[in-house]
């Protein structure tokens, strides 16, 4: 497993990303974080983990495989999340000008290293 903080700091170089957190999937607590000032890390962690768990159950019930990436789109940006194995979730907050495609690729790569 690579150093999580280094992976998060690398992610923060993607244009438009306001930061990222590594979250415990079970309880939504922060494992590691690299966030811009003003971004509520605890809220990001708890809510994104909860959303991921809920969607895991829904996709399972639909007979689909587990979610590998999700993007919650909003007027002022996005919340991106990807599971890192069964226990962790990597979450990033993106502004409206973010390169979401690049962020997605970087996150999936980072998730593979963390898992």
């Amino acid at each position: 497993m690579s150093n999580p903080v280094q992976l998060l700091e690398r992610l923060s170089t993607v244009r438009g990303l306001r930061g990222s957190v590594l979250v415990s999937a079970a309880d939504g607590l922060i494992v590691a974080e690299s966030l811009m000032t003003g971004v509520d890390g605890r809220a990001v962690a708890a809510l994104a983990a909860s959303l991921m768990n809920r969607l895991r159950r829904a996709t399972e019930s639909a007979g689909r495989r587990e979610p590998v990436f999700l993007q919650l789109q909003a007027q002022g940006g996005s919340v991106l999340a990807t599971p890192c194995g069964p226990d962790l979730v990597l979450v990033a907050v993106a502004g409206p000008d973010a390169n979401v495609g690049l962020a997605r690729l970087e996150m999936l790569e980072a998730a593979g290293k963390v898992a």
């Binding site: 994104a48 959303l51 829904a58 996709t59 639909a62 979610p67 590998v68 919650l72 909003a74 007027q75």
Partner: protein, 309 residues
């Protein structure tokens, strides 16, 4: 205990919120383990009191336990939560037929038949009910002479009150009664209406209300099984959670939730404040196109909701 039942029991023990209780309860019922089926159904209903399919399961068990009154209540409740649940219409049609209320039996069976025109069992049952109704009208003198209401036929003994499914077919058919199958693959007229005119129709489109109840559309798993109700129940609260997340992060109103799975692309959107629309497509459809299709489906759902109100 079969491997299937053992597996489902283990799954339910590991996740008491799992909707596997529906399959487990039905499997136990089919094996005649009615007490066990009842316990599973009762526990599941405690967790999902508004899930139509849970009430439907309860009704089947009551039928097998020869408690038609309770079966009737459960199917009526099921239809309150999902007026388009075909199996509940079939069940009520069967019970009304048994009770001799041919007009009500015909009404429910006609709905089930309209929802699934290819279901031969329902079509045969409907023919039988209509034939009996015609016969009852043709012989009013003898009925009147006995002091009975002419519109009512004699109660049927078909099936001895057992659940009208494929297990009971020989008994019911042997008694000259009705033959049913609980194939829930049918898409109801209501489901068709919401998304009519869209490319691909209602396949992989599911409109859900804030309580996790299906409003329209349908969803099947890759094996072709209807999973709409169970998925709808699990989606309850997603809209609020998404709104809360974006509000706390000062991102404004949420517009959509794109979910990539290993074998498909899902998109969630909110046609209105109190509804959620799930669009499911295979991996061969890029997420961007799924989102665009979801946008058009949302517009269709909004129109339908406005008309319904």
């Amino acid at each position: 205990m079969s491997d299937d039942i053992r597996g489902m029991t283990a799954e339910l023990a590991a996740d008491p919120d799992s909707l596997i209780f529906l399959e487990l309860g039905e499997a136990l019922r089919r094996r005649g383990q009615l007490d066990a089926a009842f316990k599973v159904a009762r526990t599941g209903l405690g967790r999902y009191p508004e899930l139509a399919r849970a009430h439907d399961l309860f009704a089947r068990i009551f039928c097998d336990r020869k408690e038609p009154d309770r079966a009737f209540e459960s199917w009526v409740t099921a239809l309150q939560f999902d007026p388009s649940l075909v199996s509940a219409h079939k069940g009520l049609g069967f019970l009304y037929y048994q009770a001799g209320d041919l007009a009500s039996a015909e009404k429910h069976l006609a709905y089930a038949g309209q929802a699934d025109p290819d279901d031969g069992g329902t079509a045969t049952a409907l023919e039988r009910v209509r034939a009996d109704a015609t016969a009852a009208k043709a012989a009013p003198a003898s009925v009147s002479a006995a002091g009975a209401e002419p519109a009512q036929a004699e109660p049927r003994a078909a099936g001895d009150g057992a659940a009208p499914d494929d297990v009971m077919l020989p008994t019911i058919a042997g008694a000259g009664g009705l033959a049913f199958s609980f194939d829930e693959g049918a898409r109801s007229p209501v489901q068709e209406a919401v998304f009519s005119g869209l490319d691909g129709g209602a396949d992989g489109l599911l409109l859900v209300d804030a309580n996790g109840l299906r409003l329209g559309g349908g969803l099947r798993n890759p094996d072709g099984q209807d999973v709409a109700d169970s998925v709808a129940a699990l989606l309850a609260g997603v809209s609020k959670e998404a709104a809360r997340t974006t509000r706390l992060l000062a991102l404004g109103d949420w517009r959509g939730l794109a979910v990539e799975c290993g074998d498909g692309n899902l998109f969630l959107s909110a046609p209105s404040d109190s509804t959620l629309l799930l669009t499911v497509r295979g991996l061969d459809v890029p997420m961007g196109r799924v989102a665009r299709f979801a946008e058009r489906a949302s517009a269709a759902a909004r129109t339908w909701l406005e008309r319904a109100e």
